[in-house]
Amino acid sequence: MELHTLSSHRITRRTMLRLGALAGLSTVVLPSLLAACGGDDDFGKDDTTTPGGPTATVSSESQGEAEAGEPKSGGTLVWGMGGDADALDPHTTNAWAAWRQSTMMYESLVRKDLAATEGTPEIVPLLAESWEATEDGLTWTFKLREGVKFHDGTDFDSAAVMANYERMAVADSKFYYETAWHGQFAFQYATEVTAPDATTWTITHDRPVAEFLSTIGDYYWFGIASPTQIEKVGNENLAANPSGTGPFRFVERVEGQRTKFERNDDYWGDKPYLDEVIIRPILEDQARVVALQTGEIDLMSDPPPDVIQSLIDEGFTHSDGMTPQVAYYRFQFRNEYGKDVRIRQAISYAINREAIARDLFRNSAIPAYGLLSPGAPAYDPDWKPFPYDPDKARELLAEAGYPDGFKTKLLGVPTASGWPQAGAVAQFIKDNLAEVGIDLELELTEWVTYLGIIFRERTDMIMWGTAWGMPTNFFVNIQAESRYRSEQDAGDAGYTNRENPNVELDEFLVAGSEATDAATSNELYRKANEKAMVEDCAFVAITHDKLPHLMKPSLKGFVHSVNVNYDLTKLWIDE
């Protein structure tokens, strides 16, 4: 069974068209939507297409200019980001700024198609040319690309894949690195992993893992590093001395100033147009905006929502899209109000998500109702279970015995990288809840303090929030399947965990993650969403951020993928 042709074509298209109507106003987004449809068709037919290949001509159109001209080679891109990368080690990092950089250097066996801008991206070949799963869905066999070299000159082969797998998952291997935690979700069901020959790698699970390809294709956290380099510099020093197979090579990192990459002229695929990419962390919003205006940076991530329109008016090119991110709050079931489903639902009705997305984010986010992100296969843009309805909220509160409301607390952060407007949203929710009589006290602390205080014992609060996500259905398992949660977890809110599982929800999630048929799987995940978000109302989702980017008009070829990283090989400068 060629799994990567079995992607959900029809669903993708339908979803895309629906979203296309939504985005129809934007002349910037629409052409890229159509472009993505074109790319889609090509991928289904041609197994050996290199990623991004068929979209090379398409990407320049995505800038909204009919006469964009031929891409030119050369030039340096300076990219300003609002957060600094922690470590440039794909197996250990936990920051979006770092994903964006490590994906320039490191490649996984497969990846989500970065040319897709809406709907569920296809899985496309990368270091694996092809793959197949056995009929029972237990064993995956990957045929690896030949003739690929790491940046340090080492040949890429199945031993390299093995070494990287062992680095994350095999405790008695010489490659094992405790901090390389990313393997925990994807490799937890592995029973046998083999490398029968230099170009074949297999992994066998003890249960079918339908989204295995998707999980190893996400964010490239399974970026394959040169085993020679790992041995030479040691596990801990790989972050400072990266060596992958990707289109860009690491040149240098000057902490806090810049990280520099250059084109990998020996790259196996389509070589980048750009000579160099320089990443600059600029933490202060205002300074980042001025740096774009003065030309000190060419491309800016994380613009403050308020300035986006004025930058567009000044002539900067704007790009945003559907991201895997979801900002949500988790209800504390041990709180005296949080334990009542009517109160939880009342709160969900009382929050005006449309107004948050429109007024606070200036439409740089869309309202969210579930944990499935717009990039997940089961995401349904028409599913909006909690329309803003303060009357319904008051009714439910009266039913629960609190017609005059009550006083409780929300835990959150004032601001955090990857969770834009966190504090402002909390304030907005406070105002929304005040309208239905709930007096919400905000306890906002900076991120790491926050992580230390969301203890399970915090029954004085009704909810705590966070923001992250993956463009997969499996993300819901990580959030809401009992096997991934324990009563001992700091953030456990008493909804479901190993000690007290929510059996009904588990059934949907387990069956959904094991179903090898996409339609069945998606149906099960939608039921899980309905159960967790509406029936039990254990979470309240607020927004999906569209991760807006602004760039100088001469920068061409930027395609806003559904992921958090972008295909930089297609970027070129028209000067």
Partner: protein, 329 residues
């Protein structure tokens, strides 16, 4: 200096004084390290948890915690830290997974450049304004200087920094907005100087105002003393009275205040460094505190404490050289 004839006794006394102060410096560093270590550990938050997504399973966090040595009681962790630190090993940054000392070593010179240029600007402005205002008490110049001083000392530095950015970088386009060098170029002194101007002004505003105020009040005090009257009575020109006699007597206070300001500048440029993306210790401290990156926080704070106490020691010794009255104490 011409005054006084230091004999052997004075030099010996001076030597003993310096040794005493050095011992005190070590004690201060020890105290600072315990204090900061305790504060960082008592602040809620969890460096191990910060390595993982917000609701990672507890077992995984425990694993990381063990790998980072955070499962041990705090005093034991401190003893480990101290043992390694006295051997020159300041540990590995939790956040960046590279040597904490390496990070700080790279950033220290950048902060010294910014703090140094700010100090020079603050001293020139502070001294000039202070002397002018102090010699013309209650004149219009004095009142203007006082008002400007109050404004300078009370402007929030992030606000001033952002204003400078918007006016001189965005509107006028005179200076670059962020960083130390143009990342596209190869750097160089001219490039550095251009990047240095705005952060220097933003950083120098407060110390300039503080120095001006101090200089003004000590000049004012000295101008009323007998020896100044004597000098004037001798018929010396006013500028000689001010520069040779009054200013020289104001020097000890001036040196102390400048040394203090220099120490504060090392930590005080934090806000400016963050706003202008100046890759110094302040910016690093800001992100490291956010990530509870204990090895880096410790290295930076101990280094700042070391520089601060050293500057004070140097100031005291200099005072002794300039002012024989202090030497004999």
């Amino acid at each position: 200096m011409g005054t006084g004839h230091p004999d052997g006794k004075v030099v010996r006394r001076m030597g003993r004084y310096i040794i005493r102060r050095l011992i005190a410096t070590v004690a201060v560093l020890f105290g600072v390290s315990i204090l900061i270590f305790t504060i960082v550990h008592l602040t809620p938050g969890d460096a191990a948890r910060a390595q993982l997504p917000s609701n990672a399973p507890e077992e995984q966090i425990q694993k990381i915690r063990r790998a980072m040595g955070l499962d041990k009681p705090m005093p034991i962790q401190y003893v480990y830290w101290l043992r390694n630190a006295v051997q020159g090993d300041f540990g590995r940054s939790y956040q960046h997974r590279i040597s904490a000392f390496g990070i700080v070593k790279d950033r220290f010179p950048n902060t010294v450049i910014l703090a140094g240029s700010s100090l020079v600007v603050a001293v020139i402005i502070g001294l000039t304004v202070g002397v002018i205002a102090g010699t013309r008490p209650n004149s219009r110049t004095d009142r203007t200087a006082t008002i400007l001083g109050i404004i300078g000392a009370s402007l929030p530095s992030f606000w001033l920094a952002i204003m400078l950015l918007i006016i001189f970088s965005l509107k006028l386009g005179w200076f670059p907005a962020v960083g130390m060098y143009d990342v596209r170029g190869d750097g160089g002194l001219v490039d550095l100087a251009k990047h240095l101007v705005l952060p220097t002004i933003a950083t120098a505003a407060v110390p300039a105002a503080v120095i001006a105020r101090q200089v003004r009040s000590s000049i004012l005090e000295i101008m009323n003393l007998d020896f100044v009257r004597t000098a004037r009575a001798k018929g010396l020109a006013e500028h000689i009275v001010v520069l040779r006699h009054a200013l020289r007597n104001a020097m000890p206070t001036f040196i102390t205040i400048v040394a203090l300001q220099a120490g504060y500048l090392l930590g005080g440029s934090l806000i400016t460094e963050v706003v202008f993306s100046w890759p110094g210790m302040g910016q690093q401290l800001y992100t490291s505190i956010g990530a509870r990156d204990v090895p880096v926080i410790m290295t930076i704070t101990v280094l700042i404490a070391l520089v601060f106490t050293s500057l004070n020691l140097i100031a005291d010794v200099l005072q002794g050289v300039i002012d024989p009255r202090i030497r004999l104490m």
